[in-house]
Subunit: 412 residues, 2 copies
C-alpha cells in the first residue's frame, strides 16, 4: 500500500530513498520562518485545513474549482482542502478584528492543497509561510513586509547574490492601461497578458495585447524605462534605510496572477533564474471587505513562501546544514547490575535538558560504542559503580570520573 | 461565512471570543512535546493528512468507515483524512525500515480528523503527539515509552498528584479469558466488554459477560486482586529505577478499545477523574506485518496524546503560562527626521535576535508609549540623534544613553 500521488512522506535523515522528504529539513525551515516572523512582531495564527468551498470561490470565482482538492462531505457540504491561506485569514480577521490593535501582524505555516487532474507527478500539497499585515495603507507597511521576506531568506544564509525581490505595482499598470484603453472591464485581461509575458512567445504576446489595443513594443518600453511610482520609491527608500537596498529592484514584468491584488506586488527570485518564484505577495485592500460581505473594510497585504522551491534553492546553494540525531549523550551499560542506577542517571540528564540515548537491552560493549558513534553524541557516560561515573568527550577523547550528581557539569 | 462545524480557528492571545482557540497555547504545547521527545532520542517524521481509505480499513475493518472523514477524490480514489497516525507510521516503517537502526524511535504531531454524523458540537479534528518505538520486544521498550509520557506531562508542571498512568496487559486478560472460555473467536468481544466496564451499568456488564461465560463478580475480583504479570512488574521496576514509581499503577480495568493491541496497554488519567484519558497507548506487534502485507514483521508500541484534553487539564490546574506578544523592544520614533536611522537600528536589533516593533507611520508620543506598554516590551529605545540612543528599561525605568552600535548590549 502506497501513499496518494502528489503527497509526501517526511523521514528522519539520512533519507532512505530519493522519493521521500526530510522531516529534519522541514522542521529546520519551519523554525527559521517562525523565529524571523517573531523578531518582526508577527503573531502566529492558524485555521482549519478544510473550509467551505464558497470561501475560495467568493474570492477567485468558480473557475478556481478545477484546481481545488474539493469534495462533498458526509453532511452534503461543498468543502475544499485549503489551496491558500489568505481567504481563511480574511475570514478570521473579519470575525474578530475589533479585539486587535492595528496594524495586525500575523503569520501562519499552513499546509496547502490543490488537485489538477492533468498534472501527473506534480505535488498536490506543500507548506507555505504566510505573513500578513492588516489595517495600514501606508507603503511603510509594504516595506516592513518585504523586509521580512528578505530577512527570512537571509536567515538561511542566502545573500543579495542569491536572490532579489522584484517589486512592481498594479497601480502603475493601471495608469498605463487607462492611457491606452478606456474600457476598465478589460483591465484584468490586460494584467493577465502582462503576467504571462515571460512564459508566452512574442507572437502570442503581440496578439493578446493587440486585441486590447496595446503593442508589445509599447509594453516592453514601459517595462524597460517606466519610473518607480511614488509608493514604490517610498518602499525602496525605506528598505535602503534598513541596509537592504541590494535585495530589491523595480521590475514591472511582475504583476501576479491572482485577481484580488490592488497595489504593490512583488516576487522573490533566485538571481540565476533557475527556479520558480521563492515567494510572492502584494496588497489586497478589498479582500477582507469581500469575504466579510461588506461588514469589515480593512486594507491588507501579505506574502506566501513555499517550502518546495526554498528547499531546492538551499540544496543547490549548499546552505542546508547536515542533520543528524542531535543526541548529546549516550549512556553505556556494560555491567547489567548497574542498569537501575544508569536509568536514574539517564532520567536526571534528560530532566536537565540533555538528549540522551542508551541500550534498551543488554548489548556487547563494542556494539554500544558503535551505536554512540552512529548517533554522533558529544559524550559517552558509563557508570563505574552506583556512585561514580566515567564521562568521555567523543571528540577530544578526554575522560573524567565524577560523582553521579556532577555528570551534568562535565557535558558542556 | 463561517468555518466548518467541528473545526477550530487559532488566534493570538488575548483571545477575542470563547469560541476560538489559542494559537499561542497550541504552539506552547507543541514545543514541549517536541523538546521532550528529542531528549528521549525520538526523531520527527510526518506523513500525508490524506491517505487511501484502505490504509485504515485494513487495520480496523470496514466498521471504522462510519467514523472517518472519508470521500471519493477527483481521481475516483477512496481516500480519508487520517483519523490516527499509526497506520501511516506502519506504512512508512514497512517501506524503509532497513535504512534505520533498531529500535526505531520516532514521533510526530499530526492533525487527525473524524466525522461522526450524530455527534453535534463535537470536534472533528485535533492534534496528537504520537511517539512510537519499533523493533524491540523487551518490556524495557514499554518502560522507555511510558517514561516519555510521564516526562512529557511533567514538562508542563503536572505532578504525580495530578495524573497517573494506569498500566494493564492484554496478555493478563488473555490468560483470564482462556481459563473461562475455549473459543478464542469470542476474545475480542470479551476485551470490548472489559473496555466498557466503567461506562456501562452493572446489569449491562453482567449480561454481556454472562453471554461469554463469565461473571461480573469474577471479573471484578480479578481487577481487584490480579497480580502484575512478569512484564508489568519489569516495567514497574524500570520506572521505579528512574524515580517515576509514583506516576504509575497497575489497573486491569484498562484494556483499550482498538482491535490491534497485543500486549501491554496503558492510559494516562488525571487523578481527580474529571477528564477523559490524557494519553493512551500500547503494543501492536502485528500491525506492521498486516499493513505491509506480510513483507515486514516488526514488534512495535506507541502512544497518542491529544491537545484538547491536555489543554483542558492545564487550564484547570492553572499551569498555562500567560501568553503575550513576546516582544523585546519597542522603538519610539518621535522625530520623523530620525525615521531612517531608526529603521537601521530596528533592522540591526532584529538581526541580533531581538523581537522589535515600532510605529509604522507617524504617531503621537503618548500613543507610541501606550503601544509599547500593551506589547509588554522589556525595553523602549529612542534615537536622540542619528548617533545616540536612549534605552529605557520598562520595569525599572532606568535609562541610559548609548551609541547606535552599543544598544544591543543594554537589552539584557
Amino acid at each position: 500500500m502506497d501513499r496518494l500521488p502528489g503527497f509526501r512522506d517526511f523521514y528522519p535523515e539520512p533519507l532512505p530513498h530519493h522519493d521521500v522528504w526530510s522531516a529534519d529539513a522541514r522542521q529546520y525551515i519551519f523554525e527559521k520562518w517562525r523565529t524571523t516572523a517573531r523578531q518582526y512582531g508577527f503573531r502566529e495564527y492558524d485555521g482549519p485545513p478544510l473550509e467551505p468551498l464558497e470561501l475560495f470561490t467568493t474570492k477567485s470565482g468558480e473557475e478556481i474549482v478545477g484546481q481545488l482538492y474539493n469534495f462533498t462531505d458526509k453532511g452534503d457540504r461543498a468543502v475544499s482542502l485549503r489551496p491558500e491561506m489568505t481567504p481563511t485569514l480574511a475570514r478570521m480577521v473579519a470575525a474578530h478584528e475589533r479585539n486587535y490593535k492595528k496594524p495586525i501582524k500575523w503569520f501562519a505555516i499552513p499546509q496547502l492543497f490543490r488537485y489538477e487532474r492533468q498534472q501527473k507527478g506534480r505535488l498536490r500539497e506543500h507548506f507555505q509561510f504566510n505573513a500578513d499585515l492588516i489595517g495600514e495603507t501606508d507603503p511603510a507597511a509594504d516595506a516592513e513586509l518585504i523586509a521580512l521576506v528578505i530577512d527570512t531568506l537571509r536567515s538561511f544564509g542566502l545573500t543579495a547574490e542569491d536572490f532579489v525581490i522584484r517589486l512592481s505595482s498594479r497601480n502603475a499598470w493601471h495608469e498605463y492601461f487607462k492611457a491606452g484603453c478606456s474600457d476598465l472591464a478589460h483591465e484584468y485581461n490586460f494584467f493577465q497578458a502582462i503576467d504571462k509575458l515571460e512564459r508566452a512567445t512574442p507572437e502570442e504576446n503581440e496578439q493578446k495585447l493587440a486585441a486590447l489595443g496595446f503593442s508589445l513594443a509599447g509594453v516592453n518600453a514601459f517595462i524597460e524605462t517606466g519610473a518607480p511610482t511614488g509608493e514604490l520609491q517610498s518602499i525602496l527608500d525605506n528598505l535602503a534605510a534598513r541596509g537592504l537596498k541590494d535585495f530589491v529592484k523595480v521590475d514591472y514584468r511582475v504583476i501576479r496572477g491572482l485577481a484580488y491584488y490592488t497595489g504593490v506586488v512583488f516576487e522573490a527570485f533566485d538571481r540565476k533564474g533557475e527556479f520558480r518564484a521563492i515567494a510572492g505577495g502584494g496588497r489586497y485592500n478589498n479582500l477582507v471587505k469581500l469575504i466579510s460581505g461588506g461588514k469589515v473594510d480593512l486594507p491588507a497585504l501579505g506574502f506566501g513562501m513555499g517550502d518546495v522551491v526554498l528547499l531546492e534553492l538551499l540544496k543547490a546553494r549548499k546552505l542546508l546544514p547536515k542533520f543528524d540525531s542531535h543526541m548529546d549523550v549516550y549512556v553505556l551499560i556494560e555491567d547489567e547490575t548497574l542498569r537501575a542506577p544508569s536509568l536514574k542517571l539517564i532520567h536526571d540528564l534528560r530532566g536537565h535538558g540533555f538528549a540522551v540515548d542508551y541500550p534498551l537491552t543488554p548489548a556487547k560493549p563494542d556494539k554500544q560504542f558503535k551505536r554512540a558513534q552512529e548517533l554522533k553524541v558529544r559524550h559517552t557516560v558509563k557508570l563505574e559503580s552506583d556512585a561514580y561515573v566515567r564521562v568521555r568527550n567523543a571528540a577530544s577523547r578526554d575522560e573524567v570520573v565524577t560523582g553521579m550528581g556532577d555528570v551534568k557539569n562535565h557535558l558542556g
